[in-house]
């Protein structure tokens, strides 16, 4: 979609994406069992699942809206709040947890004034928790976008986050 714009950073408004959503879910029309696939596509398109997208999917696939909401809330992959430009994932797997992952998370939440699952008001960061990213040797670990940070100390967190605009 963005490729249609001369500049990659151009903002496409959410409204403009709906015709594209309709196209993408056309093949799932009237097929309630394909709900998760349709939601997946919608989330990739919008970066999250706006209410209107949920309503369209409910209508087109013929799945009650209560079920759509229930499924979205069940899977932590799906989000109903817009995602930030950068995603922070604090690892709370066993190794990270015992070496202070929880403190890392609390510091991130405090500094950014948002909770797990939330997005900062300026949409710069979204904060999530993951259970093990396979970097136990570096515990406590944290991901920002695709960058892994190991042995994260609370005092270092702002230094890391400042790299991302």
């Amino acid at each position: 979609m963005t490729s249609e714009h001369p500049c990659q950073c151009a903002q496409v408004s959410e409204e403009e994406l709906y015709p594209r959503l309709e196209e993408m879910i056309e093949q799932h029309k009237g097929k309630p069992t394909e709900l998760i696939m349709a939601l997946h596509k919608a989330q990739n398109l919008f970066g999250y699942l706006p209410k209107k997208a949920q309503e369209i999917i409910s209508e087109r696939l013929n799945v009650p809206i209560s079920t759509v909401c229930g499924v979205i809330s069940f899977y932590s992959f799906f989000s109903t709040v817009p995602k930030g430009r950068h995603s922070i994932k604090v690892c709370l797997g066993t190794a990270c947890y015992v070496r202070g992952g929880q403190q890392t998370l609390e510091k991130v939440e405090k500094e950014l004034n948002t909770k797990v699952g939330g997005t900062t008001d300026d949409r710069r960061f979204s904060v999530d928790v993951v259970r093990c990213i396979g970097a136990c040797g570096l515990a406590p670990a944290m991901l920002v976008d695709n960058d892994v940070y190991g042995r994260v100390k609370s005092t270092k967190i702002m230094e890391i986050l400042n790299k991302y605009e």
């Binding site: 309503e55 209508e59 009650p64 809206i65 209560s66 079920t67 759509v68 909401c69 229930g70 069940f74």
Partner: protein, 584 residues
Amino acid sequence: MIKATINNIEVEVKEGTTILEAAKKAGFKIPTLCYHPDLKPKGSCGICVVEVEGFPSMKRACMTELVNGWNVHTNTAAVRAVRKELLELILANHEMDCPTCIKNNRCELQSLAATLGITTLKYKQSFEKKNLDNSSMSIVRNPNKCILCERCIQVCEEIQTVNALALSKRGSETIITDAFDEGLGNSVCVNCGQCTVFCPVGALYEKSDIDKVWEAINDPEKHVVVQEAPAIRAMLGEEFDMEPGSLVAGKMHAALRRMGFDAVFDTNFTADLTILEEGTEIVGRIKNNGKLPVITSCSPGWIKFMETFYPHLSEYVSTAKSPQQMFGALSKTYYAEIKGIPPEKIVSVSIMPCTAKKFESKRPEMKDSGFQDVDFVLTTREIARMLKEAGIDLKDMPDEPADDPMGQYTGAATIFGATGGVMEAALRSAYFLVTGKELEDVDIVAVRGMDGVKEAEIDVEGLKLKVAVAHGLGNARKILDKVTRQLEKEGRSEYHAIEIMACPGGCVGGGGQPWGSDMAMRARRGETLYKEDKSLPYRRSHENPSIKLVYEKYLEKPNSEKAHHLLHTHYYKRNKIDGKVVQE
């Protein structure tokens, strides 16, 4: 046949019998919590676990079919320990304010705790207190009481096909809620209240108007009139420990009079009136090539369902208001006028087996008297609570008639409370309206009983009237989809008239019926109404002398301009997401 033993007692049962059913036959009651005889077993609570020799893990009795040669044990130390543990965990997540809970003494969780001998709490209460859902005009949801048995979801999804409720989130955070967690009042919920009937605890119940009705009764300035739906007389007795299906029409009138209502009327009077209005409409549409089939409009749960899921059929639905709303409009016009009481002083109360009637009474268009036509709606459960508070035991009441001029009724009106009753009543009068002669045999048994969809054909001197009846909204869908297909393909439907009731069994199975009812009890109440019908001097609505009088004195004739203004209504299209009216 399956041969097995349960607690060393030999049993022989049909193939497909569950352990729960087989145990009952062997004389053992296995405790249950999420299980309900009218729903498919889901086994979500695990309380009914039993041991089967040769199997390492326990089995859920409600959903495990007995197998030949099995030796089942329902009462071992291990079984008892597991059941207790499960219940203790449920109790840790359940708000326990039992004495002030709406379900106190009627709660299945409470009685199960007693059955399992739980006298102390093993685990500390550990749930985050959530807000009550007060958004609906009919139903209150208290998530703090919810034990996640899923009965409400099952009845809403499988029986009613409304799908207002679903499981949300997961693990220890799991809740049952509506779409977007925005409240039932902002959802597709049609207010039928079946969830309140099936909920084993105090998590779902009607929004109460008890305080407002007491206030009106105690206000000397107000003239408080009351009407009772046909089905109330077949179920109110149960709230006073009378046999299910006891007919208490006379006692009910006497009790309400003693409670302090200024005039005790009867919705049955306007049920007869509905037949005249709706029957005339049916006959008119048949004669003038109007929209057919005519679909009945008495059930407000059905009406919201139609507006949401079948708006293309709205022109087929009778414009006649429900008996409750006809009564409301007349109580503040006709009655006010002949009694010389200013209508603003009249408070019109109705007693309904229904939660959707609360929503119906508050629809903005229901103000044709110039005031809100019906002020307060009480369910069967609410009026029983009020009578008990007033120290009135229904059992001790004499039989008294309702007051004139809106209390007299026929057998045709009383069967409105059972599925098929409205259709039967309409046919009794339609025959007269078409031919000018009386239908000899007024018992139209083809439309009676608990079958989901019923059909009948009545010969009206050569004109073959084809009718259908559906109760429960899942059954309604079957007939409505068929009609939709016929209308699309052939431009016409094979049916002349269709009766639809939102609740299984009709109003005797309404969302306001006594707690703990099952389908068998609904059927018994229906039979009671047919018995009353047989015992009454008039059995055709048009024979009701009070109905003749209201037309003579006030409404002129059925479907007159005045009747249209006061007794007829119109419908909207609603959004399938939030149930709100869509502006066209």
